[in-house]
Amino acid sequence: MDPIFYTLQDFMTYTEGVTYLLVIATLAGMTVFWWFLTGKDED
């Protein structure tokens, strides 16, 4: 269920917070994916 926002501050805090967490996950995920993609290059 979506949270209820009473102010723009609430909205921005929530959405930016979630987005920043996703950015960190993306950076980690892209690094792991790069290892997966190039893992067999040396073979």
Partner: protein, 390 residues
């Protein structure tokens, strides 16, 4: 050692030629109807839906799918990946024909072809994104023509002119990248003006970035797909260099496409998060959005990756088709399916069969021109007089 193969001569009465003849015949008739009877005589366009599949497919998809030219030439000439050199000419040719056909197709939509230069020489709408798109496409078509011209000059024996143009290669490549970056993203920026008409899942202030990134995906995938088709139908025209580099090209471009697709998937998810649009995902449009995002972005990214790791060329070639369909689906979703999503079904646009007929006609012209050029000019092989002269 590179060598020119003369190739086999096939009968003119083939199934493809028969189909081509029918499509061209119908296309010429539809062209006559369009330019004598106006848009209403051949299209379902209306004031609510002034842009139909001629924009969605011929222009938005055509420009994206022609991105192989700048992607390949920048990889080879700017990033120094010389092992993909044999792919440059086919990619430039595909790009040049793609943009030339976009130019042809826009005449059907706009009408009055003699007025096409007006935005450049009569009334410059310098505050319009569409002006920037038009200017970039016109300039880039010229750049692609010059980039393609050495092949034609080698065929015609114009050695001095060819050596002059070849000296401009790096400059033209830089022009190509700059102009492509601008207009590929600007095509997305055209939709920034319709936040109330485009479904929130597809509308984003980042849409120009999405368009640019997907053009790279389309370019990489198109080079793999075009290479596959060329090997199927024009292998007899290829020299040994071209044949030897083909597998490395498929693996290298497949790897790049996989990573770009993964990045695109990530920024799309971040876009949903930044707009807090998660709740739309549970609606009907949300399901369709997930089909596009998971089935035509995430899936091809993973399939490319598995194909690269297992060195499965078949899987990579199959995935290139999936990725291309994904870009086409994305452009159709943005310009047709999710566009005017508030309107009742009776007011929604569905193309007239004659609109589809003209799009097929234009694609057929492209196929025939590609075949004409590839079977005559040194596209898939190095001309014996200019070996290693790049």
């Amino acid at each position: 050692m590179a060598q020119v193969t003369t190739g086999e001569r096939k009968s003119i009465f083939s199934l493809f030629n028969l189909i081509a003849l029918i499509v061209l015949g119908v296309g010429v008739y539809l062209t006559y109807l369009r330019f004598t009877g106006g848009l209403a005589s051949v299209t379902n366009l209306s004031d609510y839906n002034p842009w139909g599949i001629w924009i969605s497919f011929d222009l938005l998809c055509g420009v994206a799918l022609a991105a192989g030219g700048y992607v390949t030439s920048s990889a080879v000439y700017l990033f120094g990946m010389k092992k993909y050199h044999s792919a440059v000419r086919p990619a430039i040719l595909t790009g040049f024909l793609g943009y030339a056909l976009v130019f042809l197709a826009i005449n059907y939509d706009v009408g009055r072809p003699w007025r096409l230069p007006y935005p450049l020489v009569v009334q410059q709408g310098t505050t319009s994104v569409l002006f920037e798109v038009g200017l970039c496409v016109a300039t880039y078509l010229t750049v692609l023509f010059i980039e393609f011209s050495p092949a034609a000059m080698e065929w015609l024996g114009l050695k001095r002119a060819r050596s002059l143009v070849v000296k401009l290669t790096i400059l033209l490549t830089i022009f190509g990248v700059v102009l492509s970056t601008m207009h590929q993203s600007s095509l997305g920026a055209l939709f920034l003006i319709v936040p109330s008409k485009l479904h929130p899942l597809w509308y984003s202030s980042y849409i120009p970035i999405y368009f640019f990134v997907t053009s790279i995906i389309a370019g990489l995938s198109m080079v793999i797909f075009e290479s596959t088709l060329s090997h199927r139908f024009f292998a007899y025209k290829m020299d040994e260099t071209h044949l030897q580099e083909a597998n490395g090209l498929t693996l290298g471009f497949g790897k790049a496409a996989s990573y770009v697709l993964a990045g695109y998937f990530a920024i799309k998810v971040l876009g949903i998060s930044a707009g807090n649009q998660w709740h739309y995902l549970t609606t009907g449009y949300g399901t369709w959005y997930l089909v596009e995002l998971l089935g035509f972005v995430a899936l091809p990214s993973l399939l490319y990756a598995f194909g690269v790791r297992t060195k499965s060329l078949t899987l990579i070639k199959f995935t290139s088709v999936l990725a291309i369909l994904g870009v086409i689906l994305n452009r159709f979703n943005i310009s047709l399916v999710a566009f005017n999503w508030h309107l009742p079904a009776s007011e929604r646009y569905f193309p007239h069969w004659m609109e589809i007929g003209i799009s097929v006609f234009i694609v057929m012209i492209g196929l025939l021109l590609y075949r004409f050029i590839v079977t005559r000019m040194p596209i898939l092989y190095e001309h014996p007089d200019y070996k290693d002269a790049h």
